[in-house]
Subunit: 508 residues, 2 copies
């Protein structure tokens, strides 16, 4: 962890300790009022800037339009006096933006906050968009109604946070409120395809991107709509298991009962991995888990439950997990069979013993689990069940020699991240969000999904925080993606509050 | 069982018992020699008739060409003095052919033998045929080499047995050898699509088709190439099991560990149905099985083993069945998972908890098992494991109420057939085949596959026998289907021998 200096809530105060610190005061209640008023007055301009940005098609693979988006970002931030650099990459340019801290210099350097968002979007199938074509943004409802929505690809995921950040800069400037942090922004051109060049970009520009913390501005707020601070994300590693039967599909009449059936052997293997409540039975599966701290447990207990509504909507009579809450379960690693394939079903079904059976699995990881280790546990489990485990397609000799052969391969792993909630910096972030919203945020030790947080931690040494702003029912990745207007207005205050960072007070 | 008269081996002998009987002597060794000679002399004409027939495309769904095949069959058999009737059906005409017994009338009516073959073929993908296009028959090898092969769709399955029957009639006539049975033939236009109108045809023409036994002339001889008599076929009923998870696929990060995973629940259900050796653990699964008689067990023990060769070719280190032979296992019912599907695997894999998981299963049946009863055992098994079993797509209320829901549906069932080997008629058939081949045939109590034998048994009350002639490596249903010439020549003797049926001698 990095050291953080104690700073009194005044732009003139001298830090008692050396080290990075916010230079100026955080958002005060009356300033929140002023900002709200400013946003209300300038809503039309903000919407105009957002819709112009949404009109640029931004499917990750569409390099020409991705480049146009990068140029638009450059212009957007240069208008605000920022230094902008396009960091070239094979998937399009990462856009780096720098806005130094304002106000008089202090003995300690200002706190440096690196904001992350992405400007690419998921592929679109225009035929399935009912409200408006994906790159023709449309406001549904009155502009002054916070329940109105803007429909367009990336309206939520993830262009609106970028616009909210820019508007926050404008608002603070208009109201004469100085930014007390050195603000850096990195905008990703290929998050929706897994950010394959993010690591190289972070590693190649570590000096440029050096900061004291990362604010991750992607994903929705908690389903209740409450402001949300996310302290981590689950990691992931994907696994594929193929079990082998006869060399080719054979007639189930002539060979059924005799030719070993790979679908059945796979079913046996899979069902040995979890009990009926979904608890993973693979030896060592939970061994690397870093237990939740008392503070994290308290935070979990305060998260508003959404299970009943989810059960009603998803038609779930009894969730897995033996009665534990969704948030408790998200703070444990998971083993999820995301796909099964063998032979044919339905109208294509044929009377054969299949030659192979495949299960696609994803392992979600929590803090401290090494992704590849978790796959090795799966392999060891398969071996204990009698499988001969291979990494490549087994040759004929291998299949003739071993009654049970399983090919177990893995994808690239992403570690989980989980920043402790009780550090001075974490407490300051919570305070910034609380001040922006005017009430207590939901604190999530770990978001269920996986993001690139751990890469910033690993490559830049940053504590990472997710501070999302968009509505959770935004149809992310789907047709009719949308942004609730109220979330945009709230988001501006949120990022303004982070640009006037609260004092980072060391624990007593 | 029907009664069968004792007949001495002479066309002049008077049956000692009333009842149907062959009128004339069976094939004697010297006559076998004459027939072999005749076939050798007339091979070119026979091949010409076969290739002309193979040139007619005969994919079941191609009604126009199926009709052309029916007209060709009519002409083929009318040339031989047979009465021919096309029995109309929605899938094309069943072609009925009648050749009354020859020779002087006897006190007892002649034995009536109904021969079954089909004249439709499997669909073709001409791009995958390497030797010749599917409807341009090509002889590879010298015409006088029994190892030569004719390549074409239906060269083996199932046009060549029809040509062999016609040639057998010609040969007997040319050599002045009378047919001692009333010979009826029924040629099926839609066997390759499951003969959906066979039952209606049999039921609607029961008088026309009345006979004392059925000879089923489809399928290959035993893989060793030995002449083969099949006394039955396994039945079949297909089952599809769908297990339900969340109403729609949900994000495996946000809901993994909490949303019940249907692929895992299905794996648990499937793996509970069989042990690691493939023995079915479903209660009552083997209860209806009619045990093999001592004679059938003896016959099984004499079947030449093919397991080592199969294991080598199919890359099987250890077959299911706990060491029992393939033939023993074929005489037991099977439960085969022929397909699995849930979510996505491979390049399409997505990080979701799937909404459903489906297993396609076929249950092969042996003598006396009622197909639908076997499916009910599966349902009862699922209920014992806690599943709420439904027949139709479950509604939202059902899914909200029951933690485990499985939809278990079934296809139309076909019963197994197994004619006892020790009846006088069975012994006479074995003798006919032995005399045609000159050596001992392989006797299979039950063929692994499923045929329509039980329908003839159920609707016409016939004991049924399979007397195949084509080579087992004929690429049936695949590109480059072919017939080994030696099998054609042998087949002519085989059907000639059945048209000069041995005496049916009652058991002492």
């Amino acid at each position: 962890m990095r050291r953080f200096a104690l700073v009194v809530v005044s732009c003139l105060a001298i830090s008692l300790y050396p080290g990075p610190s916010p230079r100026a005061a955080a958002l005060e209640p009356d300033q929140r009022q002023e900002l709200t008023q400013w946003v209300a007055t300038h809503g039309d301009d903000i919407l105009e800037e957002l819709t112009a940005f949404l009109r640029l098609p931004n499917v990750s693979a569409d390099r020409e339009n991705i480049a146009a988006n990068a140029r638009a970002l450059q212009a957007m931030w240069e208008r605000r006096g920022a230094q902008v650099r396009l960091l070239p990459g094979d998937g399009g340019p990462y856009v780096f933006v720098h806005l130094p801290a304002q106000g008089p210099a202090t003995a300690a350097p200002p706190l440096t906050v690196l904001f992350y968002a992405h400007y690419d979007g998921q592929p679109v199938d225009p035929a399935r968009w009912r409200v408006t074509p994906p790159f023709q943004p449309k406001l549904v409802g009155a502009p002054d109604d916070p329940e109105s929505r803007i429909y367009a690809r990336s309206a939520s995921d993830d262009k609106s946070p970028i616009i909210a950040m820019a508007a926050a800069v404008d608002a603070l400037a208009a109201l004469g409120l100085t930014r007390n942090v050195d603000a850096k922004f990195i905008f990703d051109p290929e998050e929706e395809v897994g950010s394959p060049h993010l690591e190289a970009t972070l590693a190649g520009h570590a000096g440029l991107l050096a900061a004291d913390l990362l604010i991750f501005a992607d994903g929705p707020v908690y389903p209740t709509g409450a402001p949300t601070v996310v302290f981590g994300t689950r990691g992931i590693i994907t696994v594929e298991i193929t079990v082998y039967g006869p060399a080719e599909p054979v007639h189930s009449g002539h060979y059924g009962n005799w030719a070993p059936n790979p679908a059945e052997k796979l079913a046996r293997l899979l069902s040995s991995m979890k009990d009926a409540q979904g608890h993973v039975l693979v030896d060592g599966f939970y061994d690397q888990v870093r237990p939740l701290s008392a503070g994290e447990k308290r935070a979990l207990a305060r998260v508003p439950p959404v299970e009943d509504e989810l059960r009603r909507r998803l038609l779930i009579a009894r969730p897995d997990g033996g009665g534990r809450s969704l948030q408790e379960l998200i703070n444990l690693p998971s083993l999820n069979v995301r796909g099964l394939n063998s032979g044919w079903v339905g109208a294509e079904a044929r009377t054969i013993v299949p030659a192979t059976a495949t299960a696609a699995i994803d392992l979600r990881l929590v803090r401290d689990i090494v992704p590849e280790d978790q796959v090795d546990l799966i392999r060891a489990h398969a071996r204990r069940l009698g499988f001969f485990v291979v990494m490549d397609e087994p040759d004929a000799a291998t299949r003739r020699r071993h009654p049970l052969v399983a090919r177990i391969t893995q994808g690239a792993g992403t570690r989980a991240a989980r920043t402790p909630m009780d550090t001075p910096l974490s407490q300051a972030i919570i305070k910034a969000v609380r001040r922006a919203a005017g009430f207590e945020p939901v604190l999530l030790p770990t978001l269920g999904g996986t993001g690139p947080l751990s890469r910033f931690e690993d490559l830049l040494g940053l504590p990472t925080y997710g501070v999302p702003m968009v509505n959770s029912d935004n149809n992310q990745h789907a047709p009719d993606e949308n942004l609730r207007l109220g979330n945009l207005w709230d988001g501006i205050l949120l990022y303004a509050s982070l640009l006037r960072f609260p004092a980072v007070t060391p624990a007593p």
